[in-house]
């Protein structure tokens, strides 16, 4: 038994503590002014406080590098974990910054506090290899997200979305729990590393297979991969833009990372292979099929959408498919690719939802037709959207392209046989060509269609404008000089590689 001082634990959990305190602070500050001040002002004050809290947490992480593995993997802290936490916090900063000046709900303090709790959930989620804690933090995250999705009380869409999300989420959590419990039963441990050790070198037990499928199902729901994607379009469409941004960005990043860790660490030795013509049973083929289905279905269905949010939802399904390639190849290289891709993708989506929220407020909707002539009404906003869409489509020199390149290259390098995964990569590349069709549909409305006659220029809130431009510029920068980010990602992972 290792003895650990509680102050040390508190020290390790200081970033999370900072966030919790910030959340409470936001609630506290919002309470006295909720009667007097305007919603916009309250949002601004709350968002600033939340952002400061997040930045404080980031500062704490950066200032005090930690290395710890407590209670048999219940709390794992290392450079790579801290890196991911920084990324998640940074994304949260962007999301709350986008909330500056919004007015979709009067429960400002609660909204921001729940968002911060969700962030805490994500941070804990990525810093553990204990399946029990994984489940707990996942539930903390999920419950926060259900609430966030429902926040627009005036909109029946929002309520519907939240309910759907909740029902699907609850069911999938049950599956996940079932799978995890089977795993525990098979290995007699809650630590992923030990589970892997226990099931290694055994023939594929039917229980293990069930556990594997259940877990893939549970996480597949979290990352909205086909066929567990049904909630996504409705939630993306119905939830407030900010919530949707959170659900689709940082929550996704956390979801992918934990999915990766559970599969790669917990099922080490039961990978199997999905190389062309050399199929062997294991979890990799399952994930490969899920990835392929997600890419194909997501992209094809997205073509038919007229709502930009739903379009982004289906595109998110497709992107989940791409990112799952990293699981299929599961090398150190592909983990880097996963991080790079997921983080830049999350940034892009935050930006896209930022633009959508502005258009919704000013043009009254987020159908494709509401974007008509946007370039004449808000040129800078349009330019940002151009960058977001092209980056999602994987056009160089934007971050989306480099992410794809990294992902595909690492996927191809993996596999026991040279180019064994070429079929999957070829499918992904082909499908990302398809995706450009619908991204161009959005841009076509923005740049080519004429604006409706009576509309004037759009007033873009200055804070959001600044954030959007910052996101757009960083996407450009990350695409042009990916090395900046890449070395930052690779170093800790080199050290830690698990």
């Amino acid at each position: 038994m290792i003895t650990v001082s509680y102050t040390a634990i508190l020290q390790l959990l200081l970033p999370e503590m900072i966030l919790v305190v910030t959340a409470l602070l936001v609630l506290a500050v919002d309470l006295p002014i909720s009667r007097t001040a305007q919603t916009r002002t309250r949002f601004t004050i709350g968002a600033v406080i939340s952002a400061i809290g997040c930045i404080g947490a980031i500062a704490q992480i950066v200032r005090v590098p930690q290395q710890a593995n407590l209670f048999d993997g219940t709390l794992v802290i290392g450079p790579e974990i801290q890196l991911i936490q920084v990324a998640i916090l940074a994304l949260t900063v962007l999301i709350v910054a986008m909330a500056v000046g919004s007015s979709f709900t009067s429960h400002v303090g609660e909204y921001l506090a729940v968002a911060l709790f969700a962030t805490v959930g994500m941070m804990l989620l990525v810093s553990t290899v204990n399946i029990l804690l994984i489940f707990l933090s996942l539930e903390l995250l999920s419950l926060s997200l259900y609430v966030l999705a429902a926040f627009n009380k005036l909109s029946s869409h929002s309520a519907e979305a939240a309910l759907k999300y909740f029902l699907f989420g609850g069911t999938s959590a049950a599956f996940l729990l079932f799978g995890l419990s089977l795993l525990y039963g098979l290995s007699n441990s809650t630590n992923l590393v030990q589970i892997a050790h226990a099931i290694k070198n055994q023939p594929l037990d039917p229980f293990l297979a069930v556990a594997m499928v259940m877990i893939v199902l549970g996480f597949g729901f979290k990352v909205a991969a086909v066929p567990f994607h049904f909630w996504a379009p409705d939630v993306y469409e119905g939830a407030p833009a900010n919530s949707a941004a959170l659900i689709s960005s940082s929550a996704k990043v956390a979801g992918f990372i934990i999915f990766y860790q559970v599969m790669v660490i917990g099922f080490a030795g039961a990978e199997g292979s999905s190389d062309w013509g050399r199929y062997t049973a294991g979890w990799v083929p399952v994930v490969a099929v899920v990835a392929a289905l997600s890419m194909v279905l997501g992209n094809l269905v997205a073509i038919a959408q007229t709502s930009v949010r739903r379009l982004l939802a289906y595109s998110a399904i497709a992107h989940a498919g791409y990112i799952l390639l990293a699981l299929v190849s599961h090398t150190e290289q592909s983990f880097v690719a996963l991080l790079y891709y997921a983080i830049t993708y999350a940034m892009t989506l935050i930006g896209a939802f930022g633009v959508i929220s502005i258009v919704e407020e000013q043009a009254g909707g987020e159908k494709l037709s509401d974007f008509a002539g946007l370039s004449r009404r808000a040129p800078i906003l349009s330019l940002c959207m151009l960058i977001f869409m092209l980056s999602l489509g994987g056009i160089p020199p934007l971050a989306g392209f480099f992410g794809k390149f990294l992902l595909f290259a690492s996927t191809l390098s993996a596999g026991q046989h040279t180019l064994g995964l070429l079929w999957l990569v070829a499918l992904a590349i082909a499908m990302s060509t398809v995706s450009l069709y619908y991204y161009l549909q959005v841009l076509k409305r923005i740049y080519i269609a004429e604006p409706a006659s009576e509309t004037g220029p759009i007033q873009v809130p200055i804070a959001r404008q600044v954030v959007l431009c910052a996101i757009a510029l960083s996407i450009l920068l990350l695409g042009c000089a990916p090395n900046l980010f890449l070395t930052w990602l690779r170093q800790p992972i080199r050290i830690a590689h698990f």
């Binding site: 092209l390 290259a409 740049y447």
Partner: protein, 500 residues
Amino acid sequence: MLAWTIYISFLGTLALMLLKLSAKTARSIALLAAIAGFAITAYDLLHSANGTMTTIVHRSWIPPLGIEYHLAADGVSLVLVLLTGIVAIAGVLFSWNIEHRANEFFALYLALIGGVYGVFLSADLFLLFVFYEIAIIPKYFLIAIWGSTQREYAAMKLALYSLVGSAMVLIVLVAAYVVAGAKTMSLLELSQFPFSLHFQMWAFPLMFAGFGILAGLWPFHTWAPTGHVAAPTAASMLLAGVVMKLGAYGCLRVAMVLFPQGLDPWGFSALGLASWRDVFSLLAVIGIVYGALVALVQQDFKFVIGYSSVSHMGFVLLGLMTLTRVGLTGAVLQMFSHGVLAALLFAVVGRMVYNRTHTRDLTALGHLHLNKAIPFAAITFTLAAIASIGMPGFSGFVAELQVLIGAWNAFPIYVLCAGIGIVVSVAYTWRALQKAFFSDSAPESTTHALPPISMPERLGAVMLILASLTVGLYPQLLLNLLIPALSSPLFDGLRKGHWQ
């Protein structure tokens, strides 16, 4: 020095995007940027170029992946960079009348040019691909915003075709990168890597066809006529003049250099075809003849030129497939020649005729007595037509001549087919010329007063004609660059076993 061709174009884009300028200032900036690009190229040609591969900039870019920012030029790239410079200037001159969203127009225009320069100057394949894709997106907007007939359809079709092509290229690029150890994307190093025969056998056709789509390879050419027709004048000039060359350049510079063994015989023969070389040369010849025949029955003036581009690009691809030095030289020369001439033809049809008459229907144009109303356009088109049917003295002749010399060696029967293609090209060119400019189907009195041909148009036309004439009469100018380039070690792989 040459790298500034790229930077200046993108700086121009940036300036035009961010500043609120009048249309007049916008086009002046665009013109300055285009002239600067051309001047830099000309300076470089005069001072330092000898045709062999010369590095311009070489920096590490993404060291973990071995990707470098490496710009280099050899004779082949220089010729095409020069072409880009010429066509870019002419394109601005012929869009002097753009008033609608002029800022954005010229911004996209320069972005496209910058991308094209980038492709021609990249020696790192990652970089090359980046520029290749950069060139695609502006095309979409140029056509969809400023185009005519069915512009949105044509723009989307063009964009998707291009993107499908680049997807095929990307698959092979990533695969080749990984197979070669994921250490480098350098063209020079990858060209030395011994890819397995099996790999080359599938990688080569995929990549060649991928680039070929942009080069108008039959049967993937259908984006070209609709795209050219819908595009605004300057865009169709660039599209036919330069962008199609991107594809052909990629075929030569990347597909053929990396995977020379992909051209080897399969070891069996199906339908008389025994290698990818046979397949692609057959497609090239079909393109030549088919493009010409379809052009012969078009009623829309621009479609005639559009299909003629397909036909002329067939010569480029045929030249590449001859695998002889003279054939390859011819192919690159044909790229230059077709670039200049297609630009000129589209300029006449799109700007001089369509902008004035608002019709492109050959019969309707016949009633307007264009040879009297706008004689300058008639003369320009005549010269362009003469040049494009391969009349000696103009650039098209020396180019097609070399392609055919090379082809005699490899595929005598295709030479005869190409000959038929040339004859048909005479027929369709002359039919269009006659119907549009010299028809006398209406009485004299109906001659309309059309706005006179403006000075920028005259300058642009004269410049393009002179370019074609100079190269036609003194091809040595470009051959001095091309021959050393094609004799360089880069093409060693191709030379082995094929070269004559």
